[in-house]
């Protein structure tokens, strides 16, 4: 559960930075294609996005795992929920990382 608290706090801080970055320019402008791509080309920012992705995936799927464990009990069911959540977490992180990497390398 410490993971859950830690990832929540980390995500709050990094998402706050992410939102504040939108304020460095006009909001509409910050969402323009070249500005969004520029975020991925700037390595520290791309790393921060990767960290947000990991933190939110771990936090979200761990939360879902806990909800499912509270709904029903049983060793088979619990194993399935634990491994299922871990797999979903890994798939989402892999897919998100692929997007960050491709955008960072200029591959569309």
């Amino acid at each position: 559960m410490k993971i859950h608290y830690g990832t929540a706090l980390g995500a709050v801080v990094l998402v706050a930075v992410h939102i504040l970055m939108r304020m460095t320019q006009n909001f509409g402008q910050s969402l323009q294609y070249q500005n969004v791509i520029a975020n991925y080309h700037f390595l520290p920012y791309a790393l921060m996005l990767e960290a947000v992705l990991i933190l939110l995936s771990v936090h979200g799927f761990n939360g879902l795992r806990v909800i499912l464990l509270e709904l029903k009990q049983g060793s088979g069911y619990e194993k399935m929920v634990n491994y299922g959540s871990l797999a979903a977490m890994a798939i989402l992180i892999a897919y998100g990382s692929r997007t960050i990497l491709m955008a960072g390398m200029g591959v569309s």
């Binding site: 559960m1 410490k2 859950h4 608290y5 806990v66 464990l69 509270e70 709904l71 009990q73 619990e78």
Partner: protein
């Protein structure tokens, strides 16, 4: 000036009370079920004469004595010390011996078995899981030395040391907190507020050396982190114990805020 004399028979007692208007009649609805025989819950209604000071347990015992001997109810001390007569009274988990009919402000009183416990029959529920979770928390002082050997000294505590855990030692294991807990309603493996409060009671006791053991036990998938802090457990405790607070304080030890 009114002269009070002791009535010579119970018939006379009732006559006196009826004329002085002290006796009231309520409808007692008792949930009846027998899961072992596959009987679903039904409600039996009884008219029960009550006085200002009649408790719900006394009303149930009146039914058992005079109207239906088959009502199953567990009770013992009749003074909120043993924790046997926990049940749902008008929807709220309460001790039947500690709840007066007059304080319910209703002429219809419904008594049901506690939630989150397997029903044995009618109002009697199975305490196996509560007792097993209580035992799991090692509810005793753990340390190598002892204060009972002739060469040892007693373990001295300051009033402040005692204050840390005193209220949690008032638990009578009646199970009302577990019955009120919304997490226990869905997570049958949850330790429950009673067990967690007892874990805190010994962790906070400075004579105890078993803190690490207990923290390992409660730091489980169905342990302390499952509490959503609804606070219902503390609302229903008849002894003024605050299990919700104990759980938060115990979390402090696990997160390193408290040493």
């Amino acid at each position: 000036m009114a002269v009070v004399t002791a009535p010579t028979s119970s018939e006379e007692l009732i006559t006196i009370e009826k004329t002085s208007g002290e006796l009231n009649t309520i409808t007692l609805r008792i949930a009846r079920s027998n899961p072992a025989e596959g009987h679903e819950t039904t409600y039996s209604e009884f008219k029960v004469p009550v006085k200002k000071w009649t408790t719900v347990l006394e009303a149930i015992l009146y039914v058992k004595q005079n109207l239906d001997h088959a009502v199953a109810v567990r009770y013992s001390c009749r003074q909120a010390s043993c924790g046997s007569c926990g049940m749902k009274i008008n929807g709220k988990p309460s001790l039947a011996c500690y709840t007066k009919v007059s304080e319910l402000h209703s002429n219809i009183i419904t008594v049901e078995p506690m939630n989150n416990f397997p029903i044995i029959r009618d109002l009697a529920v199975d305490f196996k899981q509560l007792i097993s979770n209580h035992k799991k928390m090692k509810p005793f002082i753990i340390r190598e030395d002892s204060e009972v050997t002739p060469e040892s000294k007693e373990f001295i505590q300051t009033p402040k040391d005692v204050e840390k855990y005193l209220q949690f030692s008032y638990c009578i294991k009646c199970g009302l907190c577990n019955a009120a807990c919304p997490t226990m309603a869905t997570d049958t493996s949850f330790i429950g507020p009673q067990g967690l409060a007892q874990a805190y009671r010994y962790v906070a006791d400075n004579r105890d050396k078993g803190k690490e053991d207990r923290l390992k036990i409660v730091d489980d998938a169905h342990g302390i982190w499952r509490c959503h802090f609804a606070g219902s457990c503390s609302q229903v405790c008849p002894k003024g114990v605050d299990p919700a607070m104990a759980i938060q304080l115990l979390r402090g030890y696990l997160l390193g805020f408290t040493k």
